[in-house]
Symmetry: C2
Subunit: 168 residues, 2 copies
């Protein structure tokens, strides 16, 4: 055994949120340069019944803080969904990163077998911690970061795969 | 330490590819029901300079087999990018899953510290195995599966988040 649950969760999620914040910064730059109202960018969705960019960012935040808190057995911090600008969304991501990074590594000990239940719409899902992380938390956060990226690309923001990967 | 590199790679990637195959099946059903040419679905992209659906599936396959092979220190199987139909793409995913699932778990021992180099466009990237898995392979495969999902949603295929998560 060569990995801890902490290693597979905290730095991975924290990095994704930092990258999402950078993608939003490029969105803001592009909106300014192209004369697009940033609110219009934030309201963009890829299908009429998909969530717009603002909500993608909020759910990425929720997925990361909820996932980490449940694995670590600490209370999930509640952030009201009130952001209406790119800087406000970036501030939320910064607060989320601060929370995620601040959970002590030793709280994750034994979390691979911890029973975790959560509501998903009308259903109650139950997982062992390991399956929760790899089958729910990571897929969910990657989903919303990628969808945010796709919305920005769809609107012409000049970003590429390396911006998503965050490769240095 | 409570996780192995094998656990964090093989079942996670294998499941994503199986889910992607299910999403494609729903795309095929929708195309048949709505009188859309499946080729038209496969050629859809979210931005003029993004890859179309076919290529998203091929790259998800490449990311999974390349990632697993490099971590395990075995040869990367080469699959020609010749698929032109949904069933052909599903066959490729099935072949990829068969390869990924067939790599013995003990080949991953020590892979967290293995030095891995790969070409990404004009650049050479170098990683320790752990960073390769969490900072490159998983982000990359999740990216292409999510983008495939987004393309299908953008074209009106009736799928939802639970289809992406694969929650039972």
């Amino acid at each position: 055994m060569t990995l801890s649950m902490y290693q597979a969760a905290v730095p991975v999620l924290s990095r994704r949120l930092a990258i999402l914040s950078s993608l939003l910064a490029k969105g803001a730059d592009h909106a300014a340069a192209a004369g697009i109202d940033p609110s219009d960018l934030l309201a963009t969705r890829l299908a009429p019944d998909m969530f717009p960019l603002t909500r993608q960012v909020q759910i990425a935040s929720d997925g990361a803080k909820g996932g980490v808190a449940r694995l670590a057995g600490v209370e999930v911090p509640s952030f009201p969904d009130e952001e209406t600008t790119i800087p406000e969304l970036q501030a939320r991501l910064a607060r989320t990163i601060e929370f995620v990074d601040g959970v002590p590594a030793d709280r994750f000990e034994g979390s691979e077998d911890r029973r975790i239940t959560l509501k998903a719409g009308p259903r109650e899902l139950e997982f062992a911690g390991r399956d929760f992380l790899f089958g729910f938390v990571l897929p969910n956060v990657f989903f919303h970061v990628t969808t945010a990226y796709a919305i920005l690309r769809h609107r012409g923001v000049p970003i590429g795969k390396m911006d998503y990967l965050g490769a240095s």
